[in-house]
């Protein structure tokens, strides 16, 4: 299905170029880039850069927070879709479970008589969501491809409809006054309020960094390999001794837990949730973040999430056209970058690099990738 490209005319994919460049840096150079970059990311809400800002239409800090929470979701969904290749159209269900668990545990509107602090709710919410991932996954994961997609879509809708229909979950009346972390400033005012996005953004970015590291560990392991194998050819994977069902369940549960975490953070930030806003469209937008950024590429999906939130918010000022712009932007982006903003191969190549290195008997080091990259570059020059 692909067309030929003459050798000379080939453009090196942007992602690959970026990667090459990154690979060509020394370890300390990499840190030298990474630290200011992370610092810049943290500083964004304070800098509120003139061209980038979404104001006056929308509060930039809150937009950033929303982008961050969607990024967290995209990272979770990327495990399921990008890594294991399980098309999940109902991922919003996990987000909802996380948010609702938090709300039920902490909101005064809840049928529970005790209200727990937010920090206690978060791990519980993650756990409950992971379990819900197992509950949904166990019966459905033997379905293949798009049958799984529509079933997950169905489950996502069922979660929303249960929230809508079941009395204790309060439908559109919702749960108000979901608290955030109880941190106060010197003057006694709360740090985490719903109208100030900055602390929430910082919190979420920190969570993202931690999750990225953990998920990255997974991807660079037997587990990640098994996921990709399942994505590529489930039967062959099974024949090679991969317990496909178990690993698919793990993918579902891990993905769900991350989604639940995001839901929990979200509930704390807005302080009010009801059964609206957990619909199919939202779910598909999550997926759009993943695909737009580059399914399978963690950094890519973060970028994708940012766009999904940012584009409509940026055009708040012409509200009537913003979703039109958004829709067209998606189409255009996909045509020009069909592999997503960043391609997906980054992780897998590290193995090749390591092994290749060792094979030709030079790099003895396996634990540190950057050492190998550095070395590899040495060969290239």
């Amino acid at each position: 299905m692909s067309t030929a490209t003459a050798a000379e005319g080939v453009t090196v994919p942007f992602g690959a170029r970026l990667r090459n460049w990154w690979g060509s840096l020394d370890r300390w150079q990499q840190w030298g880039v990474l630290i200011p970059l992370v610092a810049l990311i943290y500083l964004l809400p304070v800098l509120n850069p003139p061209l980038l800002t979404t104001e006056p239409g929308t509060d930039f800090q809150i937009t950033l927070f929303n982008a961050a929470r969607i990024a967290l979701i995209a990272i979770g969904l990327n495990i399921v879709v990008g890594q294991a290749g399980l098309l999940d159209l109902g991922y919003v269900g996990f987000f909802a479970v996380g948010a609702y668990t938090t709300a039920v545990l902490s909101s005064p509107d809840s049928f529970l008589t005790t209200q727990y602090p937010w920090l206690v709710c978060v791990p519980i919410a993650m756990f409950v969501t992971a379990v819900s991932g197992l509950v949904i996954g166990a019966p459905t994961l033997r379905l293949r491809g798009d049958y799984l997609a529509i079933v997950t879509l169905g489950f996502g809708e069922i979660v929303r409809l249960l929230a809508d229909n079941l009395d204790p979950l309060r439908g559109q009346r919702g749960f108000a006054d979901v608290p955030g972390p109880e941190v106060t400033r010197a003057d006694g005012s709360a740090v985490f309020t719903s109208s100030d996005g900055t602390p929430w953004y910082w919190l979420t970015v920190t969570v993202i960094i931690i999750v990225l590291m953990l998920v990255g560990n997974l991807e660079r392991s037997r587990v990640g390999r098994a996921w990709v194998a399942i994505r590529e050819d489930e039967d062959a994977a099974e024949a090679m001794g991969v317990p496909t069902f178990r690993f698919k369940l793990w993918a579902f549960a891990m993905g769900a837990a991350v989604g639940g975490l995001s839901g929990s953070i979200y509930a704390g930030q807005v302080g009010y949730i009801n059964s609206q806003g957990f619909d199919v469209i939202t779910s598909i937008l999550f997926l759009a973040a993943v695909v737009l950024g580059g399914s399978g590429n963690k950094v890519g999906v973060i970028l994708g999430a940012f766009l999904i939130v940012y584009i409509p918010d940026r055009f708040q000022v012409i509200a009537q056209y913003r979703f039109l712009i958004f829709g067209i932007a998606i189409m255009v982006l996909m045509v020009f970058r069909p592999q997503g903003l960043l391609g997906a191969r980054q992780r897998l190549l590290t193995y090749g690099r390591q092994a290749y290195q060792r094979l030709i008997g030079k790099g003895e080091q396996i634990s540190s990738e950057s050492a190998l990259q550095k070395h590899g570059n040495g060969v290239a020059q």
Partner: protein, 320 residues
């Protein structure tokens, strides 16, 4: 290893994959690189490779006792009987050929053995244990590995990673271990990479270790499948037409490779239509026709067996 040099890197002036890797292969390819090494380096490297390729599993019993047994295996698809109570057994350390006309049921036999199909009746026993109820991945772990007639690689993964998936069958790190990077993860990861690389070298395609499997030529893909299957450390290696798509010279290499595999202590079951390969490599041959076993014996005997000649060989093989 090959009178004719395998395609070298010269034909691939720019390989995007290796380029993305940040590792442009040494000029002249791996082979040249090996040649450039000093004798000591070379010896060290080869020792590494050999150590890594050697199977960890000790062979407890000597050659000769039954490893796998098919008992009255029957497989029906609707009205079609693809296997009709087929029984035979494979002894440890032997290379058994499974031949027969197209559609005789050879691949079906593999599929029934490896759990792809549930046999309609009959049983498969590995070391006396029934495989009937076991899951497919479990059968692999129990010690049967296979290749596929229609190549089934993980196309987007590199050749090396494909093999590593095989080595993972013997690894036990699961999600918690991987998330927390426990020591076992490191140990397994390292051992797996080494072993996989060694296997690629063993089957002769190490120079394309970092290429996507999808982009490899057909013959390389076949070899990669063998390496991947070997990586699971099987007691029994099942090859479904491994020589398909090879030219005679390459087939000779394959024969040598299969022999080497056996020398390393594996038992091999091979489906093959090429009589030179079959006669050159097998210790014993089972012949199927219309789902029934029609002969079972030494290659020389099979070659002469009138039933086999009529059903399968036709005019004495003229290709050699």
């Amino acid at each position: 290893m090959n009178p004719q040099e395998p395609p070298t890197d010269e034909m691939r002036p720019q390989d995007p994959v290796t380029e993305q890797l940040g590792v442009v292969p040494p000029e002249g390819g791996l082979v040249a690189e090996l040649e450039r090494m000093s004798p000591e380096e070379r010896a060290k490297h080869e020792a590494q490779v050999a150590a890594a390729a050697a199977t960890d599993r000790e062979i407890t019993v000597g050659v000769g006792d039954t490893l796998l047994e098919l008992r009255d295996l029957t497989m029906r698809f609707g009205g079609l009987v693809a296997l009709d109570s087929v029984s035979f057994s494979i002894r440890r350390g032997e290379i058994l050929g499974l031949i027969g006309p197209n559609g005789a049921g050879k691949t079906t036999c593999f599929n029934a053995m490896t759990g792809v199909y549930r046999p309609s009746s009959g049983d498969v026993l590995l070391e006396g244990q029934s495989l009937g109820k076991r899951k497919r991945f479990d059968i692999t772990r129990a010690g049967i590995a296979r290749t596929f007639q229609n190549i089934r690689l993980f196309g987007e993964m590199t050749a090396l990673e494909n093999v590593m998936v095989g080595t993972d069958a013997r690894h036990r790190t699961s999600v918690p271990g991987a998330v927390l990077r426990l020591p076992r993860h490191y140990a397994e990861e390292r051992a797996g990479t080494d072993k996989a690389m060694a296997l690629l070298e063993f089957v002769g395609i190490a120079d394309r270790a970092a290429d996507k499997a999808r982009n490899l030529p057909y013959g390389y893909q076949r070899r990669l499948e063998i390496a991947r299957a070997l990586a699971t450390e099987p007691k029994l290696l099942c090859l479904d037409e491994p020589a398909a798509g090879f030219n005679p010279a390459e087939k000779d290499d394959l024969v040598a490779l299969i022999r080497k595999i056996r020398e390393d202590g594996y038992t091999v079951l091979v489906i093959e239509h090429d009589m030179r390969v079959v006669m050159g490599v097998t210790d014993r041959i089972v012949v199927l026709e219309f789902g029934r076993k029609i002969a079972d014996g030494k290659p020389e005997a099979i070659r002469e067996d009138p039933a086999v000649v009529a059903a399968y060989l036709g005019v004495p093989d003229g290709s050699a």
